[in-house]
């Protein structure tokens, strides 16, 4: 209910709506990157409001690495059906044929080929000049300095030293032929804001965020869920059932679960408030150097 939204959530929502409308008004052919997670769910919910009673005038794009949790894919298709939106699913077929997978190729190559390159392909194929992403600045250090409207060269590269200043709410959205904008309407939200908003607005999210007994194995300190039979078990490795949930969702072999009893939104929020680990900890792609995300972004990772 709108009226019961606390002041800080209401102003975050209004800011995000403003950003989304600005893109639609100023750019030629926008698309919304839909990654199925909680941030995407919030971003989509806000977009639905921004154009009410019309539908958002852009399609959703999901870059499918084929290694997402099965529940994510079911949730994605159900969401597109429920909201009657145009969902485009893109997979890097070439990468698939080359047999790229998080298991055979390792997380770095897999991310590079099946996410970064796949995204580039999809954006080029669609001729999009703007892509919305659900990233928040509180997620990670290099994001803290990224603009809300982040300019990308024709090669999709981000140049952190040459970003346009963002003054007031006057976004400079101008791009040349071939260049594009990545736009982050949730830049100023925190993880806690996202959960509080999901609760206040009753937004559906993938059930994987809620705790229940799931089969997991422990690998380099992380709990990996055995989502299907593609995950090779090492000798002596035996999946055990544990009460786990996820703080972020990605490719299942690369996403660490946390042990938790949080079964409801209230539980999650209570748990978050007591949390002592940052959100990206569950993502194995970040565990190398602190500057790793920045390097990936320069190359076109979202």
């Amino acid at each position: 209910m709108q009226n019961s939204l606390p002041a800080h959530l209401k102003s975050l929502e209004a800011e995000s709506i403003y950003i989304i409308r600005e893109v639609v008004a100023e750019l030629r052919n926008p698309v919304m990157l839909y990654s199925i997670g909680k941030d995407s769910s919030v971003m989509l919910h806000v977009a639905m409001k921004a154009f009410h009673p019309a539908k958002p005038p852009f399609p959703l794009l999901h870059v499918d690495t084929t290694w997402k949790f099965r529940e994510m894919i079911a949730f994605r298709d159900e969401t597109a059906r429920r909201l009657d939106l145009n969902l485009i699913v893109h997979t890097n077929e070439d990468g698939l044929q080359r047999g790229i997978s998080p298991i055979a190729s390792g997380s770095q190559v897999h991310t590079q080929v099946m996410k970064t390159e796949a995204l580039r392909q999809a954006l080029e194929r669609g001729g999009y000049d703007a892509a919305f992403g659900g990233a928040r600045r509180d997620e990670e250090k290099s994001r803290a300095k990224e603009r809300i409207f982040s300019h990308r060269s024709a090669a999709h590269a981000w140049d952190p030293r040459n970003q346009r200043p963002e003054l007031w709410r006057l976004f400079n959205t101008r791009v040349r032929e071939g260049e594009s904008m990545r736009v982050f309407p949730l830049s100023n939200w925190t993880e806690l804001d996202v959960w509080e908003y999901i609760r206040a607005e009753n937004i559906p999210v993938v059930p994987l965020y809620f705790s229940k007994p799931r089969p997991v194995v422990k690998r380099s300190g992380a709990l990996i869920m055995v989502d299907d039979e593609r995950l090779p078990l090492e000798p002596g490795e035996e999946p055990r059932m544990a009460r786990v949930r996820f703080r972020t969702l990605g490719c299942y072999p690369l996403t660490g679960a946390i042990e938790s009893d949080a079964e409801t939104l209230d539980d999650i929020i209570a748990e978050m408030r007591a949390a002592t680990h940052s959100e990206r900890q569950g993502r194995l792609i970040d565990t190398d150097e602190a500057g790793s995300m920045e390097k990936k972004k320069r190359e076109g990772y979202f």
């Binding site: 709108q2 102003s11 509180d138 952190p160």
Partner: protein, 623 residues
């Protein structure tokens, strides 16, 4: 993060930290996050690792590393950009913009200040006020920040001496007097050891004030935007179907309720608010900060960029005004050059017509200047091609602010704050003795072109040319239209329709068009011009790249069927001689810049294509 339960009542506080290098800004922010237990274990582990690699503190954790983000700057040990931090206490959420202190980063500080309600000015207790302290305070004041906290840091290094603190506060108050801050709170702190950061320090028991965080949690910064006059810059017109025409935007100030009358600033048209949606909820009234969609009782012609207000307190509307600008581009500001100006949801070509003076941001002195370089601040006259609705920045930070965009590179070249409007007469354009071709064009914010429409009689040349001209005119461009009707009755009334006369006709038209492009016009010429050679002649006359041959194509059967003026009928009956397509050949263009098929698309769609092409060529600005 168990303390992060926020009360719904207090709005988020957006604050800016400023100080010279090494005054301890990053340490202070890191300390706030640390003391509020907002640093997570894994971040803390990374921090300890990094402290060993890059840190400057010998033994303990270097909090600055937590907030200095990007790799490159970490290696150089400086903060080079604006970074945003988020934290919350039971009382309030905070967004902190952390910006660097060097002179060359004035633009980053202005960026951070543009959205801040409060600034923390850090001073090193050992050094007192520095040039940078003055500069930062002046920038903060220029950007309209009304609340300042003076944090006298490193108080541990002066033995917690009360007199050192008092002297700095005294000096600062004296300096800040003319800057128009509405509140100023001074506090002695040690960012490194935590004194007075989030609890009162016993080592400064002479200090009667509260600690920094407590002050930040309590302060009311809302200048009551709700009480200011209602404005709604139209961001987007929402037309899902014919029965719904929603005017969408975010209210920067004031309130609006259903049944109230509103006026469109530029056109002066009035209507009444029928419905209001805040996001997707229908409501009776809305206020500053709400993202709304309004419907009106009347079908008004409203587009993105218009501004709605109450009829009895309207914004100013002008095409010339004075403003402070902060220059943000490596290319200097040159008066007379054409930029794009974005104010609210309106983008329009504009130029700085006169640079009145430069401002020394270290002391607010006015200096004579012919140009502005990166990070310089100036006061100038600005002229726009279309009148824009605005308020003085001092009255409304959202409707009084603009940015200038470089038309070649698309970079954001300047931030501007409007002082007041000018009447045309007060600003007669000054220029040198010879007015160049480029100067003519610059003044009109366009690049000249000859749009040469060729094709059979009845193909649709004039219809399309007229549409293009009116579209250009609407956008504030300067055009001329030449066609048989206005040329044959005057300039060329001595000419007939023989092949020789046709050539002379076109030659004269070409010369006239050329003169018009010399003064910067976009010239639309609509002539059958059946011969390739004569079209080539005009092309060669025109400036490099300024000639656009537009072939309006329609099959002869179609134009004979259309025959709007009944000419084909008469020509076919032999009453008119030398009629193109009947008894005289039409030589189709071989390499026209554009080919338009009037049998397949509407004239309006074709006209739009020409507008797009002009934008693509940079003749006119994309809006």
């Amino acid at each position: 993060m168990d303390e992060a339960v926020r009360s719904a009542a207090l709005p988020t506080l957006r604050l800016l930290t400023c100080g010279s290098v090494d005054d301890g800004k990053s340490t202070l922010i890191g300390r706030l996050l640390y003391e509020k237990r907002l640093i997570f274990h894994d971040q803390l582990a990374a921090l300890e690792r990094d402290s060993k690699k890059f840190g400057t503190t010998e033994d303990d954790i270097d909090f600055a590393l937590l907030v200095d983000g990007l790799e490159a700057e970490r290696e150089q040990g400086i903060t080079i950009d604006v970074a945003y931090r988020y934290f919350a206490t039971p009382a309030r959420s905070f967004i902190v913009a952390d910006t660097p202190g060097h002179e060359q980063y004035t633009r980053n500080m202005a960026t951070g200040a543009s959205n801040a309600d409060l600034a923390i000015v850090l001073v090193d207790a050992r050094k007192g006020l520095l040039t940078q302290t003055h500069r930062h305070s002046i920038i903060v004041s220029l950007l309209g920040v009304r609340h300042v906290v003076l944090a006298v840091n490193k108080i541990d290094l002066v033995e917690y001496d009360e007199k050192v603190f008092r002297d700095i506060v005294y000096d600062y108050r004296k300096f800040a007097e003319p800057l128009g801050f509405s509140t100023l709170f001074a506090v002695p702190i040690s960012a490194r050891y935590g004194d007075n950061v989030s609890s009162k320090s016993r080592r400064t028991d002479w200090f009667e004030g509260t600690h920094l965080l407590d002050y930040l949690e309590q302060i009311e910064v809302d200048e009551d935007r709700r009480a200011a006059p209602f404005r709604l810059p139209v961001q987007w017109v929402n037309r899902p179907h014919l029965d719904f025409r929603g005017i969408a935007g975010t209210i920067p100030s004031g309130r609006v309720r259903t049944g109230q009358s509103v006026v469109v600033a530029n056109s002066g048209r009035l209507s009444t608010v029928a419905k209001i949606f805040v996001a997707d909820q229908e409501v009776e009234s809305a206020e500053a900060g709400d993202a709304v969609t309004l419907t009106l009782a009347d079908e008004l012609d409203i587009a993105r960029g218009d501004v709605l207000s109450h009829p009895d307190s309207r914004p100013e509307v002008a095409d010339q005004f004075t403003a402070h600008v902060i220059w943000m581009s490596a290319e200097p500001l040159l008066p007379g050059r054409s930029y794009l100006l974005k104010i609210g949801a309106r983008t329009t070509p504009a130029s700085v017509t006169e640079l009145k003076h430069r401002i020394d941001v270290n002391n607010f002195d006015k200096l004579a200047a012919k140009r502005l370089d990166l990070n310089e601040v100036g006061f100038c006259n600005v002229a726009t091609t279309m009148p824009v609705a605005y308020d003085a920045y001092a009255d409304n930070r959202e409707t009084g602010a603009f940015i200038l965009i470089d038309r070649q590179t698309n970079e954001t070249a300047a931030a501007g704050m409007i002082a007041h409007g000018l009447r045309r007469a007060t600003n007669v354009h000054r220029h040198g003795l010879t007015v160049t071709r480029a100067a003519h064009a610059d003044q009109k914010h366009q690049r000249p072109a000859i749009l040469w429409f060729t094709g059979l009689s009845g193909a649709g040349k004039s219809t399309i040319a007229n549409l293009v001209e009116s579209k250009l005119h609407e956008r504030g461009h300067h055009t001329a239209l030449l066609d048989g009707d206005n040329v044959r009755h005057g300039l060329n009334k001595d000419l007939g329709f023989t092949a020789a006369d046709r050539v002379e006709n076109i030659r004269r038209v070409g010369e006239v068009a050329k003169l018009m492009t010399d003064v910067g016009l976009i010239v639309l010429c609509s002539f059958i011009s059946p011969f390739r050679a004569e079209r080539r002649l005009v092309r060669d006359l025109a400036g490099e790249g300024e000639f656009m041959e537009i072939f309006v194509e329609a099959p002869i059967e179609t134009v004979i069927a259309r025959d709007p003026k009944g000419l084909y009928k008469r020509a076919l009956a032999g009453e008119i001689k030398n009629f193109t397509g009947v008894d005289q050949a039409y030589e189709e263009p071989e390499a026209a810049e554009m080919v338009l098929n009037s049998a397949q698309e509407t004239a309006d769609a074709l006209a739009e294509r020409i507008i797009d092409e002009l934008e693509r060529r940079g003749c006119i600005a994309r809006l």
